[in-house]
Symmetry: C2
Subunit: 254 residues, 2 copies
């Protein structure tokens, strides 16, 4: 039973929080993942807890990029497995992207729980546990440097929701095109990725799948034009402006 009083004005946000806490209880989420979710909540609060115009532009560009990829891989961590396992599997099936589990605070038990959760939600093939397929990305100190040679290591496009800055930089240095979801438009991940979706992943994943369905009917030239017209730095500036406008608006109401 939920401990959250129904009268609480932020009950909805608290209920999403409980989802993470429950993911923690079932061994998907690391303690540090609860903290990371908290940071996301704060930035989402500043965004007004809705998908902004600039996020929609980034989502469309991301869809075009995924559809143009030779091999795209969705990198999954504990928080993603707790928040939107169904959407990961749907995106994978819709676009032929592979799924690979890659953790900052790695341990086998948690990795197994994440595999189980993804399988429960319909995933067939999941990479990240086959030690015979291990490859190493340089420039990363954490456990995240270990990747699958048939997955992230071979991919031209990597979708890394809720990412850390080190790995995003290492992936870029390895020549990957990086798509990320990050609610902080100023983070190193946001600034380093090729396409940054500044939005709550629970809202944005759904929209990304929709965009992939719509754009899969378009030809390559149209997709390339969408990508050519997208400028990540400009998009991030627009996100920062959206936050500043929200701060102004909210401080007037307060």
């Amino acid at each position: 039973m939920s401990l959250i009083p129904k009268s609480h004005p932020r009950a909805k946000s608290l209920l999403i929080r409980e989802k993470l806490v429950s993911g923690f209880d079932s061994g998907l989420v690391a303690k540090e993942g609860l903290l990371a979710q908290g940071r996301g909540e704060a930035f989402d609060y500043l965004l007004g807890e809705k998908t902004g115009k600039s996020a929609k532009t980034a989502i469309k560009a991301a869809a075009a990029q995924i559809l143009l990829a030779k091999l795209s891989v969705i990198s999954v961590n504990g928080n993603i497995a707790a928040l939107c396992p169904k959407e990961v599997v749907r995106l994978s099936k819709q676009t032929g992207s592979k799924i690979e589990v890659n953790l900052f605070y790695s341990n086998e038990k948690r990795k197994n729980a994440i595999f189980k959760e993804l399988k429960k939600n319909g995933a067939k093939e999941i990479l990240g546990k086959n030690s015979a397929a291990r490859a190493t990305l340089s420039g990363i100190d954490s456990a995240r440097r270990i990747v699958d040679k048939n997955g992230i290591f071979a991919a031209d496009v990597v979708i890394v929701p809720l990412e850390d800055g080190d790995r995003t930089m290492a992936l870029r240095k390895a020549g990957k095109i990086v798509i990320t979801f990050d609610l902080n438009p100023l983070s190193r991940t946001s600034q380093t990725a090729n396409i940054t979706i500044v939005d709550n992943v629970t809202r944005a994943m759904e929209l990304l799948i929709k965009n992939c369905i719509i754009l899969s009917k378009k030809n390559k030239k149209t997709l390339k034009t969408i990508l050519k017209n997208f400028n990540n730095k400009k998009n991030l500036s627009e996100n920062i402006n959206e936050i500043k406008n929200n701060l102004t608006k909210r401080s007037r109401i307060a």
Copy 2:
């Protein structure tokens, strides 16, 4: 041993995070407390992780208010016990404030761990566990409604670091003067308290104690003038402007 790579550019912030995680492991901090810390981290990031000018003004007003109180009580939750137990005890001794443990997600085991941590850091008398002294604050759905009749219930000034909005409102309705630490200047707590210190509690507690030492040498008239010249709404607006300026500055560097 810390799992955080030394090369990580946010190693300092990650080490504070580990303090909370360790507080969680020792039973002081609730899972929801880890999330709350994450939200604080995000707002602190936007403040540039330093004590701003407006926070310093609020800290000075808070010190004056505590010194003018008939009975001031410091309300302690799990996160405060994990982050700055020493400072709570020092503030209590410096100003004659009582210490009372009051939890949103209450359970006896966690309460005992918090009592133990405060005692380990030099606290003599701690309220919040004596069922014979129970009193009830109206307008709160959570366990936080239960207070000590010789503590928060009797106090004219209550210091509530890292507070929830419901309780802040209930304390105000009960006629208390509320001093809070909240990194989100837009939160209900921030907007409802009499004095809101928009700063990281680990930095601000230290400064508050210093201000109490300095102002304890002043007469009542001087303290009252400091309070009279303090306007919480105006101070919060200045905090919001500081965040907006930081966003502008950081988006230029990024």
